[in-house]
């Protein structure tokens, strides 16, 4: 009861404050939309929201899946090999420091017109870093005794990875995945907003901007926030299933 009531009340409180600030300042809806403007926008553009929302969601999830695969592979390389760690770390850190918005035109030029591909690629590029680092650190900091109890029995590296290193890294992995989920949305929307003739919620935002339709723009932002929350809690649910053991019972 409390688990649901508290966040719902917090959200209602936030919406009320937002409405109040707009009302006190007397802002018209071509300057700043109020929450009360949004339902009309959702009703008016309902089919677009469904279609674009789906576009954004599947691309984000696709980018995340690629990020999980590639990030885990990079993390494993860095976790197991000192040479790979020394070689990859500066490259990854440097790459991560580049604002990804600057890459949008580059990608758009290389893969002209391949909107789906570009969007997924950007979602991946922006979100794999935390996963790679956390898996790498998780594996590299595995206490040698854990490895030794199985290695002394002649277990192969693969077996040791499967039975010990992999499960032991899962809590760190899910921690990173939660960060990556929100990052991936930023990547998807970067491309959707900046690309001409884009699709997805980012493109819907852009069209709202072009038409000066502030209620639509804010409705898109809220829809993005809702998608972000949904995906985040999907990861939390996965974490409960696969790494629930790491959660300490609350006293």
């Amino acid at each position: 009861m409390q688990k649901i009531a508290v966040p719902v009340l917090a959200i209602l409180g936030f919406l009320a404050l937002w409405e109040f600030v707009v009302w006190v300042n007397g802002w018209p809806n071509y300057k700043m939309a109020a929450p009360s403007d949004l339902p009309a926008a959702y009703v008016r553009f309902a089919p677009l929201f469904l279609e674009m929302g789906w576009q954004t969601l599947w691309r984000t999830v696709a980018g995340l899946i690629v990020a999980v695969v590639a990030g885990t592979a990079l993390g494993m390389a860095m976790g197991f090999s000192r040479i790979a760690r020394d070689a990859l770390y500066p490259l990854l850190v440097g790459f991560n420091a580049i604002p990804k918005a600057t890459l949008v035109p580059v990608i758009a030029l290389i893969f002209i017109g391949r909107h789906d591909f570009n969007t997924v690629l950007m979602a991946f590029l922006i979100s794999f870093f935390p996963i790679a680092v956390s898996v790498g650190i998780g594996l590299a900091t595995l206490e040698p005794e854990y490895r030794d109890i199985l290695r002394a029995l002649g277990a192969s590296r693969v077996t040791i990875f499967r039975k010990i290193a992999l499960p032991k890294t899962l809590p760190e992995f899910f921690g990173a995945l939660k960060v990556s989920v929100t990052l991936a949305f930023i990547g998807t929307n970067l491309v959707e907003i900046v690309s001409p003739h884009g699709r997805g919620l980012g493109a819907l935002f852009k069209s709202g901007e072009t038409n000066g339709d502030y209620p639509l723009m804010f409705a898109v932002l809220i829809a993005l926030a809702v998608l972000g929350i949904v995906l985040y809690y999907a990861v939390v649910a996965l974490e409960r299933i696969f790494a629930g053991w790491a959660e300490r019972p609350h006293g």
């Binding site: 206490e143 002649g154 300490r248």
Partner: protein, 267 residues
Amino acid sequence: MANLIEIKGVTHAYRTGRGPFPVLSDLNLTIPEGEFAAVVGPSGCGKSTLTRLIAGLMRPDRGEVWLRGEPVRGPRKTVGMAFQNPVLLEWRTILQNVILPLEIVAPRIPRRQREDRAMELLDLVGLKGFEGKRPSELSGGMRQRASLCRAIVHKPEVLIMDEPFGALDAFTREDLWQTMRDLRAKEPFTCVLITHDLRESVFLGDQVLVLSGRPATTQHVLDVDLPADRTLDILFTPKVAEMLHLLRDQIRIAQGRAPVAAAGGHG
């Protein structure tokens, strides 16, 4: 009895940025089958290196480690290990933790049979009823008991223990000594125990090996001729007091300090 473990002239150095760092130098020791060898020595004298050599986790620079008449060239399934850190897997229950070595060594044994074997050991060490718990739900002493069960679940020829009771409080430690003694009566195995606790070495050991300071070599071997079913009270007998005194002096020598009283007549 035949010698199960023979260490012949083992010399080893770690390679560091500032040249080789010798830890063992011409170390010799033999452990007959079924015997319990306690190894004591000053801190950092290479005791843990010794356990890794016997387990086949590393090879010495020179010399050889023999196990049952064969030189050790790599890990073998007939070894069990326990450390100061119980290293239980937090995502497994106690029962599943104990079963782990069987999954590697004997993957074809039916699950039921593995569980029966693990339960039998858990019962022996007094952990019956805790098999479904997670390691974090157990006390330090109970975790170490579970770790012991895991180390011997596959009936290893050699149990290698590296200060397994070092992090426990004094009373829990004494409880575990007795558990160890009872386990040996039911499950015969040859054991190498690295320890810093001289009372522990005498209570559990059939022989106590004193290593010299780094690079370590065998400095002294003490035969502990006490009955197998010794109780904690034996630690307060004059005979044991004498042994402890002698070991204390040997440690002092190993540390490079003059003994307070002459060791006299031994070694």
